[in-house]
């Protein structure tokens, strides 16, 4: 039920996203343009009823950003759910391992010092590299006798995250004023620069992550009840943690490098999913993934419309829209199902 409703909402928002903006495109035309590009030989693509400008606006600008919003929302929700299981802590989120602060350092280095400073890497690649370096540092410092301890992961993530943020802050403060806007734009997150090409890497990472996680949902359920108990159920806890950790880091890194550090989604959407359908990952993950996609598409629509023609950064809207909604949901009785009454 929830899954079907979310699927319909996502499809509707693709159409609405296609029609909202300065170039006027009706809902029906937006839908026709999207379908026309996907299915060959549709009559309306060549009979002159759609202008080139409309076609460009929908297919090259609005659809990619709607899809990036969906992909980032789905991916961050999935990564958040993974991290919450790995460290078995409801406060965990995709950026726990310093992924966003590491990506921030990479991106800000490029913005402030130019890409020559990081060996000619473009911003996205530098951010991805920063994210992976940060995750690797956290994972290595959290390892003790070959075992990844959740508590050590949280603490080293927080410590190294502060270190990377300090570097980012210093670079931002000492750079010219015109760069500061770009830095903030990246750190708050944005899907406005999306192109079809920029979707490829996060899409592949997301698809791989879905397969990796999909095969391990039962083991993840077992891990919820504790390491010892999961071990007794035949789960190789240490290996499961390592696999999930790498998956989450790659997924989050690939998203952050394209869309910046969009907050809130990865922390809260998994909890929303648990409140709606319970903690079993076989039920909860599909809802979290679709819910994350729908939520970030909605946030993107709002970011384009509430202050049009100016744009509000999506990272601000996720919190402004999401926080009150989540607090309302949390105070309802069904939230006890997700263990939120303790």
């Amino acid at each position: 039920m929830t899954v079907v409703a979310l699927g319909v909402a996502i499809l509707l928002m693709v159409v609405v996203s296609g029609s909202v903006g300065t170039v006027e495109v009706g809902f029906a035309d937006a839908a026709r343009i999207v379908v026309g590009h996907l299915v060959p030989n549709m009559p309306w693509m060549s009979d002159g009823s759609l202008t080139v400008l409309q076609d460009q606006a929908v297919w090259q600008f609005r659809l990619p950003r709607a899809l990036l919003a969906a992909l980032a929302g789905a991916g961050l929700a999935l990564a958040g759910a993974i991290m919450q299981v790995i460290v078995r802590n409801p406060l965990a989120e995709p950026y726990l391992l310093g992924v966003s602060s590491g990506a921030g350092v990479g991106a800000v280095l490029v913005i402030t010092l130019g890409s020559a400073a990081v060996g000619g890497l473009p911003l996205g690649v530098a951010a991805f590299a920063g994210a992976l370096v940060a995750s690797a540092c956290v994972a290595l410092t959290a390892r003790h006798r070959g075992v990844l301890s959740p508590t050590r992961m949280i603490l080293s993530g927080v410590a190294l995250g502060s270190l990377f943020s300090a570097i980012t802050s210093y670079l931002t403060l000492t750079t010219e004023a015109q760069n500061v806007f770009s830095v903030l734009f990246f750190l708050l997150g944005s899907v406005s620069a999306a192109s079809m090409g920029s979707l490829v890497v996060p899409a592949v990472a997301f698809a791989v992550a879905c397969v990796v996680v999909g095969l391990r949902t039962r083991a993840m359920n077992a891990l919820l009840t504790g390491d010892e108990s999961a071990t007794a159920l035949g789960v190789d806890v240490n290996r499961l943690r390592a696999v999930l950790l790498v998956t989450s880091a790659l997924l989050t890194g690939s998203i952050v490098s394209v869309s910046g550090g969009i907050g809130f989604v990865g922390l809260v959407i998994p909890h929303v999913a648990r409140i709606l359908v319970g903690a079993d990952h076989r039920r909860m993950l599909p809802v979290a993934v679709l819910g994350g996609a729908a939520f970030l598409m909605l946030a993107d629509l709002l970011s384009r419309t509430v202050a049009a023609p100016a744009e509000v950064p999506i990272g601000i809207l996720t919190a402004v829209v999401g926080a009150p909604f989540f607090l309302w949901l949390m105070r309802r009785d069904t939230a006890t199902r997700a263990g939120l009454d303790r």
């Binding site: 919450q84 299981v85 078995r88 802590n89 409801p90 999909g214 095969l215 949902t217 039962r218 083991a219 359920n221 077992a222 919820l224 009840t225 504790g226 010892e228 108990s229 071990t231 007794a232 159920l233 035949g234 789960v235 190789d236 648990r274 319970g278 903690a279 079993d280 076989r282 006890t336 199902r337 997700a338 263990g339 303790r342």
Partner: protein, 270 residues
């Protein structure tokens, strides 16, 4: 299925917590493992369900070495009622019991009817079917123990491990749990704190002291006042149960600290 600990030693962090334990549990027998806190009871059990590797020696299920067997196969053979469960994220009682079926399943799919049948009959057996859709974190400690027992039963494995199963339980369910266990046609090994509970329900007893096995045998053979006094550092009298005729152990402070009841009465009066 027969369980054998073949000269098992375990070192943790450079400290030897088990030393050369040689112990065999015959098929269908119920062995009670007793010993003071920190004597290595849980560690010995953990070598059986692959949570702690022995530094030397082997753990055998029939003739198969647990540590040379795929961990899913071991999990299908040995079901465990562990001491602690985390409830940070709440699964429902039924979900938790269904986890027993994890080693038998693969992939993303639904639970089969057979899995559900096993889970429900286990829940009914421990008297927790009425709380099946409640979140585990909302249960009392005793109810949670019932659920953990149900999970161990739902695995339907030939070997059952109970790690201090009677923690948090009132006396009625302690007895009920031991009755459920003795009625099972499985090889059972249970770490127990209550010596009388062990003596009245187990077929065999093994006594651990500081990582060494100091006595094995039937309850009467293993739990002699001499052994219990040495291992637990308490004074023991063995009485005979007036109704069943079984031995009952009664404990008191060890001789050097024991106070004569009359002295104590004087203190109170003063």
């Amino acid at each position: 299925m027969r369980v054998r600990f073949d000269h098992v030693s375990v070192s943790l962090g450079g400290r030897e917590v088990l030393h050369d334990v040689e112990l065999e549990i015959h098929p269908g027998r119920f062995l009670g493992l007793v010993g003071p806190n920190g004597s290595g009871k849980s560690t010995l059990l953990r070598t059986l369900y692959r949570a702690v590797a022995p530094s030397s020696g082997r753990v055998l299920l029939d003739e198969r070495d647990v540590w040379r067997t795929d961990r899913r196969t071991v999990a299908r053979t040995v079901s465990v009622m562990t001491q602690e469960t985390s409830t940070e994220f709440d699964l429902t009682v039924l979900d938790v019991v269904l986890l027993a079926r994890v080693p038998f399943q693969r992939g993303f799919g639904r639970d089969t009817d057979a899995d559900l049948d096993l889970a429900w009959s286990a829940l009914e057996r421990v008297g927790a079917a009425d709380v099946a859709d409640r979140p585990v974190g909302r249960l009392s400690g005793g109810q949670r123990q019932r659920v953990m027992l149900a999970r161990a039963l739902a695995a339907d494995a030939p070997v059952l491990v109970l790690d201090e199963p009677t923690n948090h339980l009132d006396i009625a369910f302690q007895l009920e749990l031991m009755r459920i266990a003795t009625d099972l046609d499985r090889t059972i090994i249970a770490a127990l704190h209550d010596l009388n509970l062990a003596a009245t329900h187990c077929d065999d007893i093994a006594v651990l002291d500081a990582g060494r096995l100091v006595a094995t045998g039937t309850p009467t053979e293993a739990l002699t006042p001499r052994v219990v006094e040495d291992v637990f550092g308490v004074a023991v009298d063995q009485l005979t149960h007036p109704r069943t005729g079984r031995p009952v152990l009664v404990f008191d402070h060890p001789p050097q600290t024991r106070q004569d009841p009359t002295d104590r009465r004087d203190e109170i009066n003063a």
